[in-house]
């Protein structure tokens, strides 16, 4: 092959790369500017759902990444753990129910009563109990319904930790509401950190009365079994639960229901 041929090939290859780059940036700029125009990206052979996943990713990167880890790993040092500004989302696909994501992203309500990192939201006075600084709690950014759908679709593709979640973990045996609450409160001490209804329970963990809507059952089971395998620095201790307790507690939380709309926050202020 002559030198000239080689050069020509090189130039051709360069041109091809350039064309691909232009195409990609055109698609992303187009979708960043006009998020609603699903399906009109043309030119490429992406399917409609692939397009919305791509648009969701752009929203995540540009508007969510400063508070949420959309790529792993979880924090392994206390410094990193404390610095995080929102829950890790890089394993969202194994954790959340898509329906709930769509609903919540468009209409977010508080999940952790004392905020994501409670120690940044408390008032400490010598000689009296620590109190939550309710006024310091920021509202979560809300998406439009269309954006929420795209972002939820994207989040469902984040399958890190798939191997850590036990498949079909729950047995057929039905939940026992009375024993479930007894266990959650008295035998396992979960109520110390989690609310089972607004204003009743601890404030440093996420409330668990919307867990059924929010989280996948297999995820709940696996997280209870070892919070540290999902988040090594988690503020939730490993309660060293046996199989029976894991079943009872997971089913109990899944049996709880959110109060009617608008009753979320009340009762916590006093």
């Amino acid at each position: 092959m002559g030198l000239r041929d080689k050069r020509m090939r090189l130039a051709g290859f360069g041109l091809l790369l350039f064309a691909i780059a232009v195409l990609f940036s055109a698609v992303s700029v187009g979708s960043a500017l006009n998020v609603e125009a699903a399906g009109t990206a043309g030119a490429t052979d992406l399917t409609e759902s692939a397009i919305s996943i791509k648009k969701g990713k752009i929203i995540l990167k540009s508007r969510c990444g400063k508070c949420h880890a959309i790529k792993g790993p979880a924090a392994t040092t206390l410094k990193d753990f404390k610095a995080r500004k929102g829950p890790d989302l890089f394993y969202a696909g194994v954790k959340y129910n898509e329906e709930w994501l769509i609903k919540w992203l468009a209409n977010p309500v508080p999940i952790r009563p004392a905020g994501f990192r409670y120690f940044k939201n408390i008032i400490v006075t010598e000689g009296s109990d620590d109190t939550v600084n309710w006024d310091a709690l920021a509202e979560h950014v809300a998406l439009t319904p269309d954006e929420a759908e795209m972002v939820a679709a994207t989040l469902m593709t984040f399958m890190a930790y798939k191997g850590k979640v036990k498949k079909n973990a729950l047995t057929e045996e039905p939940a026992d509401a009375f024993m479930g609450e007894m266990n959650f409160d008295k035998f396992s001490g979960c109520l110390a950190c989690h609310e089972i209804e607004p204003g009743y329970g601890g404030v440093t963990g996420p409330e668990v009365y919307t867990v059924a809507e929010r989280l996948k059952p297999d995820f709940i089971y696996s997280y209870l079994k070892s919070p540290q395998s999902f988040d090594p620095k988690s503020m939730m201790p490993d309660k060293e639960l046996g199989e029976n307790f894991l079943q009872v507690l997971t089913k109990y939380m899944l049996s709880l229901e959110a109060p009617p709309d608008g009753e979320y926050d009340e009762g916590e202020e006093e």
């Binding site: 206390l78 753990f81 404390k82 004392a114 409670y118 120690f119 408390i122 400490v124 010598e126 009296s128 109990d129 620590d130 109190t131 939550v132 409160d185 008295k186 035998f187 396992s188 001490g189 109520l191 110390a192 950190c193 009743y200 329970g201 601890g202 404030v203 440093t204 070892s226 919070p227 540290q228 620095k233 988690s234 503020m235 201790p237 490993d238 309660k239 060293e240």
Partner: protein, 122 residues
């Protein structure tokens, strides 16, 4: 040749020594940081037992600044309570086990920090 080895060994040991000294200090600082992140949920930032979760707790967390109460507990017992939880020392289940969260060194450092809080020894 021999001389340069000696220099290298000298430099290395100096470096090791430099890393050892602040290490102890760093551990103490980390224990305080760990306490104020994990334990303060219930025991309160200052350790006096008034964390933000206490309102709905049926057994109140121990006051770690109480010299009298805390001096009655040995270091070994404190460590057991932290690592294995309240049940392991015949206390409330509300005191969780933390051995999945902290390694042995961090647990020892936490015991040390509790001694600082109570200004007492066993």
């Amino acid at each position: 040749m021999k001389q340069s080895y000696r220099y290298i060994i000298g430099a290395l040991s100096l470096l090791a020594a430099m890393m050892m000294v602040p290490n102890g200090m760093a551990e103490a600082a980390t224990a305080r940081d760990n306490y104020r992140t994990y334990c303060a949920q219930c025991h309160g930032v200052n350790g006096s037992g008034g964390g933000v979760n206490t309102e709905s707790m049926s057994v109140q967390p121990r006051d770690h600044t109480d010299a009298k109460g805390m001096s009655g507990l040995t270091d070994a017992k404190l460590k057991k309570a932290i690592a294995e939880g309240g049940l392991a020392v015949s206390k409330s289940v509300l005191m969780p086990p933390w051995r999945a969260t902290f390694n042995d060194k961090e647990l020892d450092a936490l015991v040390g920090y509790l001694r600082e809080l109570c200004k007492c020894s066993e």
